[in-house]
Amino acid sequence: MNDLFSHSAFFGVLISLFTYGVGHVLKRRIRFALFNPLLIAVVATIAFLAIWRIDYETYLSGASVLNWLLTPATVCLAIPLYEKLELLKRNRTAILAGIVSGVVTSVLCVFVMALLARLTHAQYVTLLPKSITTAIGIGVSEELGGYITLTVSVIITTGIIGNIFAQTACKIFRIRSRIAKGVAIGTAAHAIGTAKAMEMGKTEGAISSLSLVVAGLLTVGAASVASHFI
């Protein structure tokens, strides 16, 4: 099967879009958090590749255009951010306090659970940047001596969990303010969570974008301090 697909320029994007589309239809039919289009697309694509024995490289050769668009799309998060600037200015203390507490919580949470699970130093620092955007997280993990592949996996998993359970978590913790929802999602689940916040509304999306950038930068410092703990 590899031969057939490896010469295709469109297979990678086609399977990604198709599985996402199926996920979207399922989500509308079945209103349950786990029926998340992104999760369904990822699981279905992995299953498809495994069943037909198609290499990841073969899939990626076509799908890499999606990867390529990620930076320009992230750059565009500044647009809703700018459009919501007034709201942001009026609530800057609340927003900043939320992000800072989120960053500290994330690092402490990893520290406490790493102690409980008796992780090694390398495993511990691998997990420290889990809540921030991949590109910053890789830098942090590398700097502190973590396993980069693992860091990327953990960051993506965090994002998908955030994307799936954002609304559930807001309900559980009774977070009703749109601004607070944005802070929660962007701080905990970076850009993949922000994609969900954007679906929830422009305010949530804009604040989530801001939070992911600020949390990412703050974590660089917080993680390097915390790396001395274990």
Partner: protein, 127 residues
């Protein structure tokens, strides 16, 4: 032409972000520099929102799809992930929920404390 122009600006800013990432020796990715540049360009009126709006919102709308290839890549990492997946999963799930709860609640409490009732209602808080 409008789309071409909008896309040109967005890619131009992404490119500038990439350059900054290479020149400045910090673990800050091109996309973060790009967000800061785009925001500054809008803030200082170098460009207007309508110069990037449609294409920008199109890219934001398709953003979840753009993460699929990276997430499918978890498949490749499975060999490294296997010995530690259980503790890593537990830590990831718990800390994601806790961080969301704490950061969201702190922001919400501060908004409720400082803002008049009218604003609270508009923002979705009913206390």
């Amino acid at each position: 032409m409008k789309t071409v122009r909008q896309f040109l600006i967005i890619i131009g800013i992404s490119f500038a972000g990439e350059i900054l990432n290479r020149v400045i020796p910090l673990p800050v990715p091109a996309s973060v520099y790009g967000v800061l540049l785009m925001f500054s360009a809008l803030y200082f009126r170098v460009i207007r929102v309508r110069d990037v709006r449609e294409t920008g919102y199109f890219l934001i709308e398709i953003m979840p799809i753009l993460f699929i290839p990276a997430a499918v890549g978890l498949l490749e990492a499975w060999a490294v992930l296997r010995p530690v997946w259980l503790p890593f999963c537990i830590i990831t799930v718990i800390s994601t929920f806790v961080v969301m709860g704490i950061s969201g609640r702190i922001t919400q409490e501060l908004i409720i404390r400082r803002r008049p009732a009218l604003l609270r209602k508009k923002d979705g808080c009913r206390s």
